[in-house]
């Protein structure tokens, strides 16, 4: 603080006025500050206490849903497998007249690949079954 002149000190309140003013400010402020304490700490901890079981219940529900969703995904993935019979029957289908020869050739390649994949899948399944039986 710099060295200030004193002539403006005439604007300062007398002691009685200053004391009355301070008291009036604090009378209004005290309940508001008490509310502020509640809002900062007490209310936060109250809410935390109230919400803990709710959060636990929600966690359980979502965990159950996640497990169920996982089981369904596995089932859905299983149903996507195409049986060897279907592949063979599709291979025997002839392309409609006017169908591009190139596309027919591409289809043959795809069917061959599907057939191989199915054969491999069956082999793996058989191998697994055999292992289970051996055990």
């Amino acid at each position: 603080m710099h060295d200030r002149p004193r002539w403006l000190d005439i604007l300062l309140p007398d002691e009685v006025t200053a004391a009355r003013l301070r008291r009036a400010i604090l009378d209004v402020a005290e309940p508001l500050l008490a509310g502020r304490r509640d809002s900062w700490w007490d209310v936060a901890s109250d809410w935390a206490t109230l919400l803990t079981p709710v959060a636990a219940a929600l966690t359980l529900i979502f965990a159950g849903l996640a497990v169920r969703q996982g089981i369904r995904s596995d089932e859905a993935a299983g149903s996507l497998l195409v049986s060897a019979d279907v592949v063979e029957s599709l291979r025997s289908q002839t392309a409609p007249a006017g169908f591009s020869q190139n596309l027919t050739d591409d289809a043959s390649i795809v069917f061959a690949a599907l057939s191989e994949a199915n054969t491999l899948h069956l082999k793996i399944e058989q191998a697994v079954d055999t292992t289970d039986v051996e055990r």
Binding site: M1, I10, I25
Partner: protein, 184 residues
């Protein structure tokens, strides 16, 4: 609580709802805040209302104050806007200007025993533009630096310097040698 606690520490406590810390800020600032408010609103009753409202308003907005920031300049910007609103409202309500007290009446040979009356000082301050008046009062009554005055008024530091310089000169012209003699 220690007698002298740093302001950012007090502000932090008030933010947590500490009544004693708020009381300490009230104790530190009430007197000079009253002087600043009086220079804006012109009457003791309105000055008291402005100071009380400003403290309550500042308490409500205390979270806006960044950690480590000084309370003073921020509080005076709240007080200034509160006092200006009050003054505007009062002038609308009464449909008349703030009572104007004559500045004159001093003879050049008046000695220092004839202290200035509060009415004379207020009347002289009333002739200054509001920012200039508040700058002088914050600088000379509150003892703020130009940086703090600038922060309170929301202006540049250079503008604060200019306001204080021109305001003091105008007051010296109006009030005579007392201002000059005690202006050290």
């Amino acid at each position: 609580m220690p007698v002298e606690r740093d302001e950012p520490g007090l502000v932090g406590l008030v933010q947590q709802g500490d009544v004693e810390a708020f009381g300490e800020l009230v104790k530190r600032y009430t007197d000079r805040a009253y002087g600043v408010a009086l220079s804006i609103v012109g009457t003791p009753q309105d000055a008291e209302d402005a100071v009380q409202t400003a403290f309550i308003r500042a308490m409500g907005r205390i979270d806006q104050l960044r950690p480590g920031s000084p309370f003073g300049p921020w509080f005076y910007s709240v007080l200034r806007s509160t006092a200006l609103n009050l003054r505007r409202r009062e002038s609308l309500r009464t449909h008349e200007a703030i009572p104007h007290v004559t500045v004159g009446g001093r003879r050049p040979d008046d000695d220092l025993d004839h202290a200035l009356t509060r009415e004379q000082v207020l009347a002289a301050l009333e002739t200054l533009p509001e920012q200039q008046r508040t700058a002088v009062v914050l600088y000379d009554l509150e003892g703020f630096s130009h940086r703090e005055v600038a922060e309170s008024l929301g202006v540049a530091v250079g503008t604060s310097r200019a306001h204080v310089h021109h305001g003091r000169k105008a007051l010296r012209d109006l009030l005579g040698p007392i201002v000059e003699l005690t202006d050290r």
